[in-house]
Subunit: 421 residues, 2 copies
């Protein structure tokens, strides 16, 4: 189970007991469906999605059997969760490392022509399949990328072959993409109606790319279920402390991991919290960092800059990697006493030393500790953050499950391009 | 030349004229050496470093001739600039793409055992060299990584062979690493005494890894010199506007690129500004984003969250990539009118549409436009930001060239590990 250690932040948070009370009541309303908001289907995903696992696994097995590359086309919540899962559970070097499963490239998440061209070059002559993830099928970035890869599949495999290599994750009934999917006979998966993009990683949106990357998706769901059964209290405590800090003038939260593998979890987390809370002129600004790397860049600001920050550390008991510091008598670098120690031990010391230094410098530090970095842990972390986020956003006084501000730039963009929106 | 378009932010900045005046005077003092601070050697790098180019090029040619991989060991300013240059000028996919120059892996910038193990696996049996970048030679992260790769080089090539493959970039005279370098006969380069890490990308710190990655480092220096000769006014204007916005309550600056290749430029920029300005309880919090990607994650917050943000867009006139939107009659995605248009055109429309939407939503937007994404442009951008940063930090009332807060966590860390600091 995730442990939320609040001791490094409580002294900055004013009178915490009433805020915690409020968080627990808010959570109860959210779970009871009486919070007055739609879009809470993600609460039931850990339970419901078990039924979808066999179909996802079978699609993943087919992709693994006939493809060396899976191209995942999606943006925002249709992209960040799967990438976070692969990096967290496997590695940021997943594509580059030797393995028995396909490379996974993410496209359609920007409008860079170069990025598309380079992914095409990286695929080369290899066999590939496409997972097109879009609720509407008309979002500019993924829709334009799909046009490119649909043509490449058709040129390479013919229309029938292409159709057998296109996996669509979209709305159950609505939208042009569903119609196309049914017409062309694409293998397809459903994004449940009452689950917003940023809460969808435990649907086929995240599960199919993860399964292709050899991730135990059943374990991911088990971890998420564990949170629903045993982690609600921890989630409420984290949500309460965020709000108590926000009300005490802490406007920026920095999610901090101690491994490169957590960088994209930070990106997923920023969408989850930023898009849920950032409305009506309110919301904690979500930023992320990778330590110890960023201690040598943002560290100075964190230690001594404006005192409006707080940090949330995410780490695990079981370390990543076993390599140790080499003994080398010739080196007078002061490290001789560390010969034979594991890098994990150094990393752990850095975490502890940093936590204390930042607290001493006036920065509240919340610590979230996972048992390990497995699929089960990732599932726990996802459900934990989603639950905390729902509670925290409701306490902010906003609707955690809409995103009215995302339309503003699209409206201008479509007008410039002369498109109908 | 870089163009700084301030029109999207001026109306948020109060009375700008006196602040601009202050910026120009501050810049004049900085250039005249009368700002009362040390560490301004970077002002002369565009001029001075031309003399070092031949030696750097000759080392790079040797590495290219005998190595398929260059392992760059460094952290903070000894790592971020080179990575930013390679991604910006070449590509984030530089290592994965086919090319005639070595792969470049960055290690020693964290304490992740897994990261080290995986880079070792990625090197495999290939020939490699090491560029160890450290002023003191005793910083924990790079020093512990150097121990690992020094041993691997020695095991593979013997001590003499290893010594011929180790390139050290360090202090001219001081420090144990200089002593070791001289003793072992490593090829070495100098980090000038009066240039801090975050201002060092145009020294061999950044130049050697860039040159190995087939980057025209002379052009980088030319671009930087162009700023010193013709870009001072633009830099002062950007610095002035940042300060005017900060004084008007804008506490967070988001550096925004529209290409994946700019993500690591954002990381470099965050160190430059965060470490220069974030002290004495002051400083703009530096964050970065990649559009359109992050419009689908942070977009909601930017549009509607707390009104304490401002943005700085970086883009170029000459686009990256020429690929176009495919015509496909079968797709009812609303994109038919775009068939044949370049993705760059879409990306450009997104930039314009976003700028207007964010301004309308109450977010000041500064636009920096480069001619292109070449080595020359990168050199301009570096010197432009360094100049702006020096001025802006001095206007904040802090010393732009020290970093007293970075020591706090190190002290704790070394105490936990039982090391002498």
């Amino acid at each position: 189970m995730i442990k939320a250690d609040l001791t490094g932040a409580l002294s900055f948070a004013g009178d915490f007991a009433p805020v915690l009370d409020e968080a627990k009541q808010t959570l109860a309303r959210l779970l009871a469906g009486s919070a007055g908001v739609d879009g809470t289907g993600w609460l039931k995903l850990p339970e419901q999605m078990s039924a979808v696992v066999p179909a996802v696994m079978s699609a993943a097995q087919r992709i693994c059997a006939d493809s060396q590359v899976l191209v995942v086309i999606g943006i925002g919540g249709s992209y960040l969760g799967a990438r976070a899962a692969i990096d967290f559970i496997q590695s940021v070097h997943y594509n580059a490392l030797k393995k028995n499963t396909p490379d996974v490239y993410f496209v359609g998440n920007n409008l860079s022509g170069e990025h598309l061209e380079q992914v095409i070059a990286l695929i080369g002559n290899r066999d590939f399949s496409v997972n097109y993830i879009s609720k509407s099928g008309s979002t500019l970035e993924p829709a334009s990328a799909f046009r490119v890869f649909k043509k490449r599949l058709t040129d390479k495999y013919g229309s029938k072959g292409a159709a057998s290599r296109i996996y669509v994750t979209t709305d159950a009934e609505k939208g042009k993409l569903r119609a196309l999917t049914d017409r062309e006979g694409y293998t397809s998966f459903v994004i449940p109606d009452d689950v917003g993009g940023r809460y969808s990683v435990l649907t086929p949106v995240g599960l199919l790319p993860a399964a292709v990357a050899d991730i135990d998706i059943a374990a991911m769901l088990d971890g998420a279920r564990d949170i629903m059964e045993n982690g609600q209290d921890e989630a409420a405590r984290y949500a309460a402390l965020r709000q108590a800090l926000y009300r005490a003038g802490r406007k920026i939260e920095l999610l901090v991991g101690f491994e490169p593998s957590l960088v994209s979890t930070g990106e997923w987390w920023k969408q989850l919290f930023g898009e849920s809370e950032g409305k009506n002129g309110l919301g904690i600004f979500p930023a992320s960092a990778q330590f110890t790397t960023d201690l040598h860049s943002l560290g100075q600001y964190i230690q001594d800059g404006e005192r409006t920050l707080f940090e949330t550390f995410v780490s695990a008991e079981v370390p990543r990697g076993t390599i140790t510091v080499i003994a080398d008598e010739a080196l007078e670098d002061g490290l001789a006493p560390l010969a034979g120690e594991s890098f994990s031990k150094l990393n752990d010391a850095a975490r502890q030393g940093t936590k204390q230094a930042h607290i001493d410098g006036g920065v509240p530090v919340i610590e979230l500790r996972l048992p390990s970095y497995t699929a089960y842990d990732f599932g726990m972390l996802v459900q934990f953050f989603e639950l905390s986020c729902g509670v925290s956003a409701l306490m902010t006084g906003v609707n955690p499950f809409d995103q009215p501000g995302v339309e503003a730039y699209k409206k201008n963009l479509y007008a410039i391009l002369g498109l109908q929106k």
